[in-house]
């Protein structure tokens, strides 16, 4: 139903009816904002990026070929917009070892990080990875671990996506491992 409605709306837009695009925006606003949020961890900025993505999608709509799923194409275009936005305004990421030292100074060793803090730390670790691993991991988990869809959105063969995921996870574990070694509190958190 969703995909059919998307195609109907795309045809409406291409025929000059802007109302069709409003349907697309309403259906896809939450996914696009949520994907952007995973890259920036900031709601306001995520909405700005999603808005930019929609505008770009609108301009690129004549290039959409119906043989691909609209949702894959939409996420792929949006991902490119997010990448450009991240290149233009790099996130003020704090290296994990700095976070680790701060954690170990501010908290007694026996105190365990709250689950939510620990999870946030892990998610922030993903966005500090090199871009291709960051993108692969972010899209993979956003798309509920669907490798085929992840590869489509990243516009790479499945084998490449799989290799990036493997390497990304390895790097992530190494980063989180060094965090644990530097911080007793984090050590408990990551146990």
């Amino acid at each position: 139903m969703g995909e059919d409605q998307d195609l109907i709306d795309v045809r409406r837009v291409l025929a000059g009816d802007l109302g069709g695009f409003e349907g697309i925006v309403r259906r896809w606003q939450a996914p696009l904002i949520n994907l952007a949020y995973r890259f920036v961890r900031d709601r306001g900025r995520a909405e700005e990026m999603a808005q930019e993505a929609f505008l770009h999608v609108f301009k690129q709509l004549p290039r959409f070929r119906a043989e691909a799923a609209f949702s894959s194409w939409l996420f792929s275009v949006s991902l490119n917009v997010y990448r450009s936005a991240l290149r233009r305004h790099a996130l003020p990421t704090v290296p994990l070892d700095v976070i680790a030292r701060a954690v170990s100074r501010e908290r007694p060793a026996q105190l365990v990080l709250e689950d939510s803090e620990r999870e946030e730390l892990v998610r922030r670790a993903v966005i500090s990875l090199p871009p291709k691993y960051r993108d692969a991991l972010t899209v993979f988990y956003f798309k509920e671990m669907d490798l085929t869809e992840t590869a489509r959105i990243l516009e790479v063969p499945e084998g490449t996506a799989k290799a990036w995921l493997h390497r990304g996870r390895k790097l992530l574990r190494r980063k989180l491992g060094s965090l644990a070694a530097d911080s007793p509190a984090a050590l408990e958190a990551l146990a």
Binding site: L18, V25, Q29, Q51, L55, R123, R169
Partner: protein
């Protein structure tokens, strides 16, 4: 951290709901994009003509001054200070500088005529 734990953390995230005015803001931007005049195409024809003209000027200017006859006349007329012009590389550099200045002037005129502005 076990792999399953990593998967669980990264796969599960509390979904955000869009702000109430988000869709309207996007549609406003789209409307603005539609009503904005189409961007002007780059004037490749004029650019290439200008580029060709500059190349011809640079070549002829460089060749003219490097031919030394001008430099010889200048040094005869104005004295030994101009003998330096007899060195081919100096003549060539001066010729190219003159051609570049002229070329830049023409490009500015071209750009101004393209944008409709007056110098």
């Amino acid at each position: 951290m076990i792999p399953d734990d990593l998967d669980r953390i990264l796969a599960s995230e509390e979904p955000l709901l869009p702000s109430s005015g988000f869709a309207a803001a996007v549609m406003e931007e789209v409307q603005n994009a539609v009503s904005a005049p189409p961007s002007l195409p780059f004037p490749w024809k004029r650019f290439l003509l200008g580029l060709a003209a500059i190349s011809v000027l640079a070549a002829s200017g460089g060749w003219g001054i490097a031919s030394l006859s001008v430099a010889e006349r200048l040094s005869t007329a104005f004295g030994p200070a101009f003998t330096v012009l007899q060195a081919p590389h100096v003549s060539l550099a001066l010729g190219e500088s003159a051609a570049s200045i002229l070329g830049a002037f023409l490009l500015v005129r071209l750009a101004l005529s393209f944008t409709g502005a007056r110098p």
